[in-house]
Amino acid sequence: MKKYLCLGCGFSYDEALGLPEHGVAAGTRWADIPGDWVCPDCGTPKAGFEMVEIPYYSEARPA
């Protein structure tokens, strides 16, 4: 399961979580999202997203 970041605004898509509020079920692979899908916040095309390996703040453990 991977995460993708919109380079237009920073909106993040997480395959594990999907975007149920936008009709994308949890577990939906990035490759299975239609090519004409755009960032729900800023309209950047799907191709303007980049795969990132950045942990969530909520996952960070205290040092």
Partner: protein, 248 residues
């Protein structure tokens, strides 16, 4: 040391964004207002060119004309957005609840984190010039934050001053990332200490410098990697240089 790229002023991406017409909802201000933006980095189908350096994705050299020109309130997540004001007055408004005015040598760090909106406006009577830098965060969906800093010209003259990063007096951003400034009014030689594992991007705001045997003039820039120091020869009076260090 290896040079990753040299980017001359005129080779940068260019956007001309009038406040009227198709951009009217995005660009604020009087219908005659305009934002001009020279972009060092370009990504995907937005533009073609250099995709950034390390965690730095945007380095924009922007001018907002007066009478309210700027960006209307718009959303972000995650990105750490920085503005370094060179001249004029920038009004920054964000959904953390901050309304701020930044003048020359002021800068801010807005970490959009779990979500925030901001507006950037020039409500003054002169052009506003600023450098906008975006960095990827160290963590996703962190609590949004806003902090401001100021570069002190007297204390910072003829030395390299860290503005953003984990250094005393600088604004930390929770990322392996630093922005420093060298403002010089004399010929001289300066050394920027970095990590060999990092990349360094040097952008000439004003003046004339030599880095890695390349002569760089106003708005030229260079990216280096694989060295623990960057030697900077300042060749004319009034040199103003921004240095960005990022993990690669």
């Amino acid at each position: 040391m290896s040079v990753r790229f040299i980017l001359r002023a005129g080779e940068r991406g260019y956007s001309y964004l009038p406040a009227a017409g198709l951009n009217a909802s995005y660009v604020a201000g009087h219908p005659d207002g305009v934002i001009t933006r020279h972009s060092s980095f370009n990504f995907h189908e937005y533009q073609s060119g250099i995709p950034g350096l390390g965690v730095m994705k945007v380095f924009g050299d922007e001018v907002f004309t007066p009478n309210g020109t700027g960006y209307n309130m718009h959303p972000h997540h995650n990105f750490i957005i920085m503005a370094f004001v060179a001249s004029g007055a920038l009004t920054h408004i964000n959904t953390i609840g901050k309304i701020d005015e930044l003048l020359a040598d002021d800068y801010y760090v807005f970490s959009a984190g779990s979500g925030g909106k901001h507006s950037e406006l020039n409500i003054g009577k002169e052009d506003m010039q600023a450098i906008y830098v975006w960095a990827l965060p160290g963590q996703l969906l962190a609590p949004p934050s806003y902090r401001r800093g100021h570069f002190d010209r007297a204390a910072g003259a003829n030395r390299i001053t860290c503005l953003v990063g984990d250094e005393p007096g600088a604004l930390p951003i929770g990322q392996t990332f630093k922005v420093s400034r060298l403002l010089s009014d004399a010929d001289g030689h300066h050394v920027y200490r970095s990590s060999k594992a990092h990349g360094v991007y040097a952008f000439v705001l004003e003046g004339d410098v030599v880095i890695a045997e390349a002569t760089l003039t106003r708005r030229d820039s260079i990216a280096l990697e694989g060295e623990d120091k960057v030697e900077i020869k300042v060749r004319t009076d009034g040199t103003d240089l921004l240095l960005v260090e990022t993990r690669l």
